[in-house]
């Protein structure tokens, strides 16, 4: 018994088409492709001016609303491109939202509720190819692209579904296969072959446990989001404590101009690296001092503001120079923030004591590094990682990072609940079996593994069957 996987062309698919990592862009686009595109548009979009018929390839202004209650989610522009004159060659709907990743996701979720399913990696391109929207000679390239994207997706999944979580999904899968095997044994063998069976409603507890666990995992999605969206870290500190050098060290590149002249960095420099799979976006800010230079004054003000928006602030001090009033001011200013004080230049003689630190309002030791000798940079990265995931429950167990996975998990739980209900009521086991298969199928869309003949194997392993 096998279940059709997502290669089915006729489904309507949707995904966020603009990059979601990195700084929130001005505009985010959700792309929907397939026969239901127009239907989904009519369901979710409320045009500002009355529209009789959506014209092909024309922009409309209005609100996108939630599927159930019709709450307004965002003010958007939409365009419908009818087949075959679209990127994929199918009916395509594009929803241009504001660029906030959370907002885009909530809109996408409504699109799923309205009937689309999450697009597989590379699926838009595949459809474009299949519908003659691409040159035949591109077959190799398309095949490679899809396979690469699939692999990348798998790698991302490894980041997100690390260790225990992946194991847990496998375990759930295995428990579901056991439940399926039990139900199928009761259907296919209990009467003809006189197999002694435990009652089916015994499995209800197992199913309830799985549903609880899935619910927890779905909740962890919010936490797991940091793996996808990353965190922002602002490097701040007085002038000339080595902020730009630190940025260069962290990124391993010459991103910032380094000079001994105070105030070299006036613009904000962004760089992104991955620490243990977690995207971390650094912003190097202008050093803070009281300066007469107008531009620098502006940029210093801006640095305060930037630091205010960051998920984590690295306050850099200079052990050689000691703690200045300016440093103290900066440390105090970020008192209620997530901050990490980093003491640079430990390759040079130290000029500060723990009293100085206490006076500056620091309870704990700073992290000592040297940008020059690369000392302590790895520990710093580790610290940043810990900060990012601290308080996010199950940090060691990984997260559900991906809306597609979340969607699949929710579908899994829904099917299991139905099955559990039916088994508890002792109604027809074949419909419960159907729901369990559905649940197994949705879990498999996450792991990419198929159970197929596994159920039969499990039956013959666990039960003595035969005349």
């Amino acid at each position: 018994m096998c279940k059709i996987h997502t290669i089915v062309q006729e489904d309507t698919i949707a995904a966020i088409a603009t990059p979601v990592t990195g700084a929130a862009g001005g505009i985010g686009v959700i792309r929907v492709s397939g026969a239901d595109s127009e239907g989904i548009c009519r369901t979710l979009f409320r045009p500002r001016f009355k529209v009789e018929k959506f014209e092909d390839r024309r922009l409309y202004f209005g609100d996108v609303c939630s599927f159930d209650k019709g709450h307004i989610l965002d003010e958007v522009l939409i365009a419908l491109m009818k087949a075959p004159h679209s990127y994929t060659g199918e009916d395509v709907l594009e929803i241009h939202c504001h660029g906030n990743p959370l907002l885009l996701e909530s809109v996408l979720r409504e699109v799923f509720k309205a009937g689309a399913r999450p697009a597989e990696p590379g699926e838009f391109t595949k459809r474009a190819f299949m519908n003659n929207r691409m040159d035949l000679t591109q077959a190799e390239a398309v095949a490679e692209l899809i396979s690469a994207r699939t692999e990348q997706g798998a790698q991302n999944a490894v980041y997100g579904l690390q260790g225990i979580l992946t194991d847990e999904i496998r375990k759930m899968h295995s428990s579901l296969v056991d439940v399926a095997a039990l139900i199928e044994t009761s259907i296919d063998f209990s009467e003809d072959e006189n197999v002694n069976m435990p009652p089916l409603d015994q499995t209800v507890t197992v199913l309830d446990e799985i549903v609880c666990r899935i619910e927890e995992m779905v909740l962890s999605y919010e936490t797991g989001k940091i793996y996808r969206d990353g965190i922002s870290v602002v490097i701040t500190g007085s002038t000339n404590v080595g902020k730009s050098s630190l940025l260069n060290r962290l990124t391993g590149q010459q991103r910032a101009i380094v000079a001994d002249i105070p105030g070299t960095t006036r613009d904000f420099i962004d760089a992104e690296i991955a620490i243990r799979g977690l995207p971390v976006r650094f912003t190097d800010t202008a050093g803070i001092r009281n300066s007469g230079d107008f531009l620098e004054k502006e940029s210093v003000l801006y640095a305060w503001e930037k630091a205010g928006q960051a998920d984590l602030v690295l306050i850099l001090i200079d052990v050689h120079r000691g703690i200045s009033d300016c440093d103290t001011q900066i440390i105090k200013r970020h008192e209620n923030k997530k901050r990490l004080v980093v003491a640079n230049k430990i390759d040079l003689p130290h000029h500060f004591s723990s009293e100085d630190l206490k006076r500056a309002g620091l309870e704990t030791e700073p992290l000592f590094i040297s940008c020059k000798t690369n000392t302590g940079i790895d520990s710093l990265k580790e610290e940043i990682y810990k900060y990012a995931v601290a308080g996010k429950s199950r940090s060691e167990q990984g997260f559900v990072v991906n809306l597609r996975h979340k969607h699949a998990l929710e579908k899994t739980a829904e099917a299991i609940s139905k099955a559990g209900h039916q088994l508890a009521e002792n109604s027809m086991p074949e419909t419960a079996a159907y729901e369990i298969r559905e649940a197994i199928y949705f879990l498999e869309t996450i792991t990419g593994e198929t159970a197929d003949s596994e159920i039969l194997d499990r039956i013959f392993l666990n039960f003595c069957i035969g005349k």
């Binding site: 095949a143 899809i146 063998f189």
Partner: protein, 628 residues
């Protein structure tokens, strides 16, 4: 020496597959020659005396709806009926009946003898005659040539059959019958990949030597439904079955003497089915189970022979006797036929197309155990399928193929040709992903019309079915339109039916969805036109009970069909497709899937691999279009 007559279809072996194949082909107007080694063993039930069972009952009803014979003969000769899974839903209920073995074989022989265009002949076929890549006929063991446009091999366990009892080895197709050695060698020489399977049969005991007084008796269902839509009356005689179980002594005998079992001495190489283990296997593999069931079934009305289900083994005779007599009720039992194991050749069915024709030799079809299946019903279904397709090929008509969403037969054939077999293949309802819409009860609705199109079902029957389907639709519409309201009188009727009262206006159809209500209960609510036809009533009831699921399965079936329709051009070269593993390239090249749907079901297929096939099939197709 050559026969003067060229046959359209030659069928080798008149077991359950061969009989259906020959009948279908001849009924479709083809001159058909049917061989059997011995004309007294046509349609013999070599193992248990039963037809049907879970998943198998569905096959029997499908064979019937396509004009096959098995269901009719079963109805004619059955003495014990059971509806299995009665407490579960209709989709997984299956019928099973026990027949009089001798009556069954004679009834089938009579039908075959009286069939126009069908020539029955005793003989042993030794060789296929092949010219180029097409079969042109067969040679019998005397070297006589029978020309035929197509040949269907339904050889059962006869190809290189080898019987094991203890250390004794005997070439045989079945106890007391010669094996087919030359044909087996011939198939290998032609280049077919073959393998060995093992099956077995329990001892037959003399009824008068059994102490039934200590055994639990099971009688036939009092209200049996026939297998065939055409059956009006079942025979009156009924035979009971009896239950016993193995004892600690039975298990001790087996454990102490396991070295004498050819299964454990290494003498048997063939693969046996996990769902049909011999008693040795049950005792050794499930050591913690202290007892296994034994069922005694009569083999017929006029015989003392009883089939001892559960006691199948291949131990030497002295141990068989001890073993049988260690079972309560069988202390004095006399063995009339010994249990034995048999090994035989099968042809890996991935070498077949969807019509069961071999890819290598045109006009050659294989069906039944030759394809690695087990069971009379599985064999009959394949035989019918091969017979129909051979006839269609002779008549240059389009092949007949049912897909996985249309019939259990479609599931089985697709499993065989796409996945191959690694143990004897038996039908289970769990193999059918569209199980909720592929039911015994709707087999005629699904397939009678197809049988009519093939010329195997009469026009009158087809017309009757259409009328029935119209009544079902009308009935559903009528019940949906008829509303009842939450007034005291109505709710008190509902209460008397042991179902909760209604709070809003409710249609009778909605009410029928409640699991505790049946169609008959609606009578109490009155005010609408009842339906007389019980089958129509039943269909309406089932539709109501499963409604949400039927709808979902039908939608899934539609998606499935769309993938089946996405064809892969026949000349596809898989060697140069990036992203395919060597293993997948090998499998794709061997199986030559005709559609993306079939490719998807190849074991080990990945999503990325399937995408690559999809993309390159498209490229290949367009390139060949531009060239031509």
């Amino acid at each position: 020496m050559t026969s003067l007559k060229e046959y359209d279809v030659i069928v080798v072996g008149a077991g359950h597959a061969g009989c259906e194949a020959a009948l279908a082909a001849s009924r479709m107007g083809c001159s058909t020659l049917l061989f059997n080694i011995n004309l007294d063993s046509i349609a013999l039930m070599s193992c248990n005396p039963a037809i049907g069972g879970l998943g198998k009952g569905q096959l029997v009803k499908e064979v019937d709806a396509l004009g096959g014979e098995m269901a009719r003969i079963a109805d004619k000769t059955a003495c014990h009926f059971r509806l299995l899974n009665r407490s579960k839903g209709p989709a997984v209920q299956s019928s099973r009946c026990q027949c009089d073995k001798q009556l069954y074989r004679l009834a089938m022989k009579t039908v075959i003898e009286r069939q126009e265009n069908l020539f029955l002949r005793q003989g042993l076929v030794d060789e296929l005659v092949v010219e180029g890549r097409r079969v042109t006929g067969v040679l019998d063991s005397t070297g006589f040539f029978f020309p035929g446009k197509t040949v269907i091999i339904t050889a059962g366990t006869f190809l290189n059959g080898l019987i094991h009892i203890g250390r004794s080895l005997q070439p045989a197709g079945r106890a007391g019958e010669i094996a087919s050695i030359h044909l087996a060698e011939n198939l290998k020489k032609l280049g077919f990949e073959t393998g060995r399977m093992k099956t077995g049969t329990p001892p037959r005991l003399k009824a008068s030597s059994i102490d039934f007084s200590v055994l639990e008796r099971q009688d036939s269902d009092p209200d049996p439904r026939p297998f065939s839509f055409a059956t009006e009356r079942l025979r009156k005689e009924r035979l009971p079955s009896y239950f016993s179980a193995t004892s600690a002594e039975t298990h001790r005998i087996i454990r102490d003497n396991i070295q004498y079992s050819p299964l454990y001495s290494g003498a048997i190489q063939g693969v046996s089915a996990r769902y049909c283990p011999s008693l040795e296997d049950k005792v050794m593999r499930f050591a913690d189970k202290i007892s296994h069931p034994v069922v005694l079934e009569f083999e017929g009305l006029e015989t003392e022979e009883m089939y001892a289900k559960g006691l199948g083994n291949s131990l030497p005779l002295e141990l068989q006797e001890q073993l049988v007599q260690s079972v309560p009720g069988l202390e004095e039992a006399e063995i009339m036929r010994s249990a034995y194991a048999i090994e035989y050749d099968f042809v890996q069915p991935t070498q077949l197309t969807g019509t069961l024709e071999t890819k290598m030799i045109g006009g050659l079809y294989l069906a039944g155990q030759t394809n690695g299946t087990s069971g009379y019903e599985e064999a009959a279904a394949q035989g019918l399928w091969a017979g129909i397709n051979a006839a269609l090929a002779v008549q240059r008509r389009k092949p007949f193929i049912l897909d996985r969403s249309e019939a259990y037969m479609g599931v089985m054939i697709d499993d065989l040709i796409t996945r191959g077999v690694d143990e004897p293949y038996r039908m289970f309802t769990s193999r059918a992903e569209y199980r909720l819409i592929l039911r015994e009860d709707n087999a005629t609705i699904r397939l009678l019309k197809r049988g009519y199109e093939l010329g195997l079902i009469s026009k009158d029957v087809a017309r009757e079915l259409e009328e029935k389907m119209r009544m079902i639709q009308e009935g559903i519409q009528g019940l949906s339109a008829k509303k009842i309201y939450p007034v005291a009188e109505t709710n008190s009727i509902l209460e008397s039916l042991n179902t909760p009262p209604i709070k809003n206006a409710t249609s009778l159809y909605q009410l029928l969805k409640r699991s505790e209500l049946t169609y008959r209960d609606l009578d109490a609510l009155g005010g609408w036109n009842g339906i007389e036809d019980t089958e129509v009533k039943r269909q309406i009831e089932i539709e109501a009970k499963y409604e949400g699921y039927i709808k979902r399965q039908k939608e899934e079936a539609q998606k499935f069909k769309n993938l089946e329709k996405r064809l892969i051009p026949s000349g596809m070269n898989y060697n140069n497709i990036p992203g395919l593993s060597n293993e997948l390239i090998k499998k794709l090249t061997l199986i030559k899937p005709i559609s993306i749907g079939q490719a998807q079901r190849i074991p080990g297929m990945t999503q990325a691999g399937l995408n690559a096939v999809l993309i390159f099939a498209k490229k290949f197709e367009q390139e060949s279009e531009t060239e031509s």
